[in-house]
Symmetry: C2
Amino acid sequence: MENLKASEAQRVIFATVGRLGVETVGLEASLGRVLAEDILANRDLPPFDVSAMDGFALRAADSIGAPVTLAVTEDINAGDLPQRAVNSGQCARIMTGAPMPPGADGVIKVEDTDEPVPGSVELKVAIAVGNFVRPRGESMHLGDRVLDAGTTITPGVVGVLATVKATRFAVYRRPRVAILSTGDELEGLNDPVDPNKIPDSNTYALMAQLQALGIEPVILGIARDDQVELESYLQRGLQFDVLLVSGGSSAGVRDYVRSSIEKLGVDIKFWRVATRPGHPLAFGVTDTTVFFGLPGYPVSSMVCMEQFVIPALRRMMGEQHPYRRTLNARLASAFATNPGRTEFVRVQLTQQNGEFVARPTGSQSSVVLLSMAKADGFMVVPAACPGLAAGDQVTVQLFDSAAWQDHMGFEE
Amino acid sequence: MENLKASEAQRVIFATVGRLGVETVGLEASLGRVLAEDILANRDLPPFDVSAMDGFALRAADSIGAPVTLAVTEDINAGDLPQRAVNSGQCARIMTGAPMPPGADGVIKVEDTDEPVPGSVELKVAIAVGNFVRPRGESMHLGDRVLDAGTTITPGVVGVLATVKATRFAVYRRPRVAILSTGDELEGLNDPVDPNKIPDSNTYALMAQLQALGIEPVILGIARDDQVELESYLQRGLQFDVLLVSGGSSAGVRDYVRSSIEKLGVDIKFWRVATRPGHPLAFGVTDTTVFFGLPGYPVSSMVCMEQFVIPALRRMMGEQHPYRRTLNARLASAFATNPGRTEFVRVQLTQQNGEFVARPTGSQSSVVLLSMAKADGFMVVPAACPGLAAGDQVTVQLFDSAAWQDHMGFEE
């Protein structure tokens, strides 16, 4: 299959790539993972009726006809157990979160009382039964399923896990990923500068894209344009769950990669996608490894990673939401399109009159990584789009790491 | 100062909290950090004029009147150096990224040629001077400032750093943060279940919020409602860059924290903010430590962390964009407000007809952390808002970790 649309390529990938296995992690190391088991409540919470305010626990009927004065039986702090029942004409001083004493059925907040003499309190208003009482089990009941398998562990989820004291639990495994660059023209990061070579940036941009997913990849290095050397690298890479090979931008290397990877048992599903940048994207599998052949141009490599590899990796890790969030924006200035392939244009986003405004970040050349570094997301131009005018509504796919802004962004 | 608006509280915080110092990191460990130095290009890139396509390098003048046939002098691959000049009537087979041979001033792509006999090539079309040639220095020139100090290191920035072979560089230091919970009613994560206690979830939710910023906090534990014990914990906490104390929800503990923290030399700038949840938020400083007193209720604690602590931490780490991204959405159903304080309502976002739709996630009680776990962001309700109807436009502040969706979200 050649020149697949992005969605077709994703369909082929998702039909092939499934969730990895399960492992156990501790709560402290669980952020960003996906639960592989349901999590149940281990008790009622709150464990008893508690006060929702600092004030006085009483029988609500006693407050009818306020102002009235009640005798204070005891002080109950959060963490205390009440020592006495509250009878008619009595109340207990109670702190937020403290258990209600027997007999009391409501709480009056301290601001609605006066204490003219020690040991007694004057209620300035009447209260209803249940006032400022949080009933036992309001947050959760013993045995409730509080989190479903498949839930992504965000800070809020960590809070819930701590609440039910889930200290260790099952999550989907993260893939082990290897990165290989190819090409005689490439210079390694730690090699001295050779004016005739091109620095290998892809390895590190891909590394960082993986790190942003919580995956620490293994960097295999640079395979030269030599079939024996390349095959030895590929063999090592096929021991991982995922092998990313970037480059092979020259026809010679491309042929080496293709013939070598098929010789090593990879079932190639497609070699090209109809996107710009990102034309030469290969995808294949063995029984144990998923292979992606990424373009050699720096921006193309990062775009293919975003559009195809990251959704696949997220699926492998059990994520239910593989795609980046998209939003609508107005285009700041006219943009000449090049119909025929879905185009991913690097843009910066600002806000104006409650709308997002998308502005392309300079040169869209596939080699100009600077424009990628400056972008907040990709403006996605449909393949059939004949051209875009200033003010046109466009779809922008956000990058996660740029989801911050310099203004608070809301009215108080 | 009491009951500050969120923006006033942030102004006080930002007037007090500055960038931390600088440290050196390696490229592999730099994702998410902020550059503390400008980064310059270490060479011209590309280092020479190169071909942008697989094809033939020639004198463009020779293509006039195509079809014409030229003799092939040599094959130039990426990483090779040309061995011969191209004279009139000649061309060199050239691969993408390979250096242009002397004499050639344009490239014709292989698809626009035929090779009827070995050693010669027929051009099917004429080309212009510069066709498919990427001039030396197109991406960057030696000495260009390619990245400014203050740039957040995203995957694209890692790619640029690798391109200029910046293997180690200066970034702003991350704060060392300690977390302390307080209250007799709290049960530690590893304690056995006591039906009379409340599990301490705040420590772990805050931990995860910090981990999401790349900060691995130190967990001090739970201080009981005892002034001596509390002061010993606070003293330890004041050895960190930032001390977060959660709880003290009962009046007794609140008083202990306040008197102890001031006794230990913390200059308290404010004790309350006019937000809901999050009323009792304290902020103060010593010469070396920033102190935040967070509410004890789980959701209130996370909201204050999002609105006040995280922007401060990001500022300390050198970030220029301290705030979460906001966007406009339509409210799915009427929402009764409680005017007087800015309210942060947990919502899920969906998309409908190109607009975001915000739907509150069940109970907005400050103790119901589940609704936080399910949310994509906060709907921010202005303090003066008398109420919201279905379809009203509202501002939603996104959480980062939820910036994913289950559909591709764009048209091809």
